[in-house]
Amino acid sequence: MLTRLLSNDYPRSRVLAVLLVALVVALALTPFIFPGAKALSVAAKVLVFVVLVASFDLLLGYTGIVSFAHTMFFGIGAYGIAIAATRMGPGWGSILVGLVAALALSFVLALLVGLFSLRVKAIFFSMITLAVAAAFQTLASQLSDLTGGEDGLTFKMPELLSPSFQLTESIDGRMITYYLLFVVAVVLFLAMLRIVNSPFGRVLQAIRENEFRAEAIGYRVVYFRTMSSILSALFATLAGAMLAIWLRYNGPDTSLSFEIMLDVLLIVVIGGMGTIYGALLGAGIFLVAQSYLQDLLKLASDAASGVSWLAALLSPDRWLLWLGVLFVLSVYYFPTGVVGRLRAARRA
């Protein structure tokens, strides 16, 4: 049963297994064991990012494609829900319509980007996707009739999912939404684990390791790469939809900004490329750190207030600096990420 669920891809390290189970249990019980709205929103963000980062890992870690347009698909998912809910009013129907339309758009765009640029050199592809992502962000802020421009869209969800809904004394709509996200995240996570451990996933890894040889064996590299881009785009779209359902708001900065792309890159690298588990562990560690790092920095900067340059470096506004340092250090010393390290420690 467990073998089937995890697609025979066990954590393969005792420490890793313990960490993963602890994280999943913590996420499952967050509404009950961690009080406060901040803890819940951090946990919900972790759920969204687990899906988003795992979908990116499908591309980066398994196929070896560096794309900077991943937030574009994330944004399409979020805007799909947002626009449908704004236009059609709250209801399950509008969520469905928005989701299907977003998935269709992502499919077409991923196919186009894939067909067009996967034929060029890898480094070109990265640069092209960077330009495409920038263009899409500009487009989203310019089409203000549809997307609400820079202000974004605020909308309502069906009654069951709205914060004012009370099922019982202790269970409200917010909690129901959280568990909806939880279930969706688990299903999508297991689905991606399934994909990378299928024969299809093995071909992707073969392409990553040696494109020329994979082609020589008889696999059509362009086909597999395009499929991998499309799949990863669709999962990212679903992650975007999850975000919009949770926030009941979407704007360019929420789902399309380059900083989200950086976060995703950081999480993949810290968690471990080419391991779907890395997305789970990385998202957990990173988002908790990010959410509480500013508080921590504030303490440090107050403590260092006597030395002005040190205080400036430790100011809470400079948290990105420390993430950048962390990022460079992890590419240096943890090229395989937390998951890779733990697995290697076991083997040694």
């Binding site: 067009f116 990265s126 330009a131 263009a135 400079r318 990105l320 950048g324 340092v325 590419v331």
Partner: protein, 325 residues
């Protein structure tokens, strides 16, 4: 250069200018836009030249290149800000006495930081494009944040020196003085790069090192030192480009590096990564395109560059001047 030089891409630039002429109608407006586009292209070329040099010669794709651009611009704000007597003067000579030191200091600072960047960020990841992209991206985050620590997170004005403001009139066409400065500096950078790479011994060694590193090393030359020098020069050129770009925009923000990154990537893809001449053609095309569409259909300005890039790639998938390696 070689006798079988490929002139077709070069012809693209006048071709684009001629194609849009009927759409714009008035020749004087067209002249204004064309000169503005060429000047913008020259500035973009200065910014992009360092990146294409580093890629072409060292096979390193530096996503952190934008940091050196921002750094150059911020250094210029400090230098020019402290020379108010010279920048405020009506005399062009005194203005130049302020701008030239600003350029030199910006290049020196960017070059020095480039040396550290090469040592700590790039050197461990030679030969691995994926890691290069990731780690230079990290380097860019750090650099941008450090700029915010030093100069603050806000926009800083960088006004043009007095004598460089205003414009000349050729008939009805309005040609801003600063654009002429940009064209002169851009042509100088291109000329010097071309001369060094094709007419000097250093250029010969660099090109030979790209072709066959071991062979050149076995002849007793220290390729590594040469390549570090190339990285420093590339960073310094970015610093110079930052000064030019900052003066062109007349203000600087810490995020300008990331914003310019997209533009220079488009330029390099059009030109063919690693080719200096290609970068010049790409930059001129992008500059012209931005000014023409900015006038004809303002909303499509950014998309026009991407459309241009796509069109070029359909014609030549490796850019107009692909390196032959």
């Amino acid at each position: 250069m070689k006798s079988d030089f490929d002139w077709k891409p070069v012809a693209l630039v006048p071709l684009l200018a001629l194609i849009v002429l009927p759409f714009i109608g008035s020749p004087s407006t067209w002249l204004t836009l064309t000169v503005a586009g060429l000047a913008m292209g020259m500035i973009v070329f200065i910014i992009a030249s360092g990146l294409t040099l580093v890629f072409g010669l060292m096979d390193v794709l530096n996503f952190g290149h934008g940091v050196f651009i921002a750094l150059g611009a911020f250094v210029a704000t400090s230098v020019l800000g402290s020379m108010g007597d010279y920048t405020g003067s009506e005399s062009l000579v005194q203005n130049l006495l302020a701008v030239l030191p600003a350029m030199v200091i910006a290049m020196l600072v960017a070059g020095a930081i480039g040396l550290a960047f090469e040592r700590f960020i790039v050197r461990p990841v030679y030969g691995n494009h994926l890691k290069q992209i990731l780690i230079t991206m990290g380097g860019m985050i750090i650099g941008e944040e450090l700029i915010k620590v030093i100069w603050g997170p806000l926009q800083i004005p960088l006004p043009l020196p007095t004598a460089m403001r205003g414009s000349y009139f050729v008939g009805d066409a309005n040609i801003e003085k600063y654009r002429i400065v940009a064209v002169i500096v851009g042509l100088a950078v291109f000329g010097i790069l071309w001369w060094v790479l094709t007419r000097t011994k250093i250029g010969l060694l660099i090109r030979a090192g790209v072709q066959d590193r071991e062979m050149v090393e076995s002849l007793g030359y220290r390729i590594k030192v040469l390549f570090i020098g190339v990285f420093v020069v590339g960073s310094a050129l970015a610093g110079l480009g930052g000064v030019m770009w900052g003066l062109y925009q007349q203000n600087v923000i810490p995020q300008m590096g990331a914003q310019v990154n997209v533009l220079i990537f488009i330029v390099l893809i059009i030109g063919g990564l690693g080719s200096t001449t290609g970068a010049l053609i790409g930059a001129l095309l992008v500059g012209l395109m931005a000014n023409y569409t900015g006038f004809l259909v303002p909303k499509a300005a950014l998309f026009s560059n991407i459309a241009l890039m796509m069109a070029i790639l359909l014609w030549r998938p490796q850019g107009v001047y692909a390196l032959s390696k």
